[in-house]
């Protein structure tokens, strides 16, 4: 199967890359741009913040080719549905796109989603025509509710944001995959390339990460590693792995042994 024929479709739009990356925490805008390039990502997340009234300050978007990337504005830092909805409306006006990564956080220590507020915000945003990609708990019930509301994807966490702990509960991700039809994208928790590959091998439609790349000792190299891991994991999933067995099964024929 050619990887190029295996498109990811979200909100009616087609993407070739299944790796989505954040644009925060890099040492410089130049480094951000190079890491994005190396990751092969087509969807990149951004945050919505007050403009710095100091005009000398450069902007991230000065370094990013907007023809190449689909911006996915997030609602990071929002703790209520009202704040998240307000941020999305501003994002749509600033970016002229309906795509939003909806996150409504429960507390600062865990950055776990407040699923009650998340559902409330998702309902309003879908009704207003947004293409909503919600960051949520790895909980199939919440994911099904988000799908029923009309979200374009569900994005369960693999582990806490920025923790690098990997996919802590692959069984929950599997249950979600078996019970929703919208794309399932693991968002948050990935620490290294193998984590991304595991998410893809489970059958996820994509992986979204920021810290794992931006916080690596060499973010540019890690961006490439993540690109390859997502491709490898996807191919491995599609190829169908062998069953796990407790005992050995020889690879070489037993016939014709010398003796």
């Amino acid at each position: 199967m050619a990887a190029s024929a295996d498109k990811l479709i979200i909100g009616g739009r087609e993407f070739t890359s299944r790796l989505m990356v954040g644009t925060g925490k890099y040492a410089s805008f130049e480094q951000t741009a190079r890491a994005l390039e190396m990751s092969g990502a087509e969807i990149i997340t951004v945050a919505v913040r007050r403009v710095n009234l100091d005009r000398s300050k450069e902007s991230l978007l000065d370094y990013i080719d907007l023809k190449k990337y689909t911006l996915l504005p997030n609602t990071a830092g929002c703790y209520t549905a009202d704040d998240a909805v307000r941020t999305c409306r501003l994002a749509r006006e600033a970016g002229m796109s309906d795509f939003v990564k909806l996150e409504v956080l429960g507390d600062e220590k865990t950055l776990f989603p407040d699923n009650e507020e998340l559902l409330k915000a998702a309902k309003i945003l879908v009704a207003e025509g947004f293409t909503v990609l919600p960051y949520c708990s790895d909980d199939v019930i919440v994911c099904k509710k988000l799908e029923d509301i009309g979200c374009a994807a569900v994005m369960p966490l693999g582990a806490p944001i920025g923790s690098g702990l990997g996919i802590r509960n692959p069984y929950n991700i599997r249950i979600i995959l078996e019970n929703v039809t919208v794309p399932v994208i693991v968002d948050a928790g990935v620490g290294s390339a193998s984590d991304a590959a595991i998410a893809m091998e489970l059958g996820c439609a994509g992986v979204l990460m920021n810290t794992a790349i931006a916080g690596a000792q060499d973010p540019i190299a890690m961006a490439e590693a993540m690109k390859l891991a997502v491709i490898a994991g996807r191919l491995s999933f599609k190829a169908g792995r062998i069953p796990r067995k407790l005992y050995a099964n020889a690879s070489s024929p037993l016939d014709g042994l010398i003796g």
């Binding site: 403009v51 009234l53 991230l60 978007l61 911006l71 501003l90 749509r92 920021n210």
Partner: protein, 66 residues
């Protein structure tokens, strides 16, 4: 007149519009969104939208984030 811009008070001229304010601040309208007293101001109305004393204005843009 006095307005609140991004949480700070700012002295601006009478008869100012959103378009003029952005111009004074050196901000290109393409990549920002403006909120006036809690409501989004559509870009096409920046020229016409007057600003009044005590208005609360937010100007936001995209920054790096995950």
């Amino acid at each position: 007149m006095q307005i609140m811009l991004n949480g700070d008070s700012l002295e601006t001229t009478d008869g100012c519009t959103i378009a003029l304010l952005l111009q004074q601040l050196g901000i290109s309208k393409e990549r920002v969104a403006v909120e006036l007293n809690g409501d989004i101001v559509p870009k096409i109305t920046y020229e016409k939208q007057p600003i009044s004393d005590d208005d609360k204005i937010e100007i936001v843009h995209f920054v790096g984030g995950g």
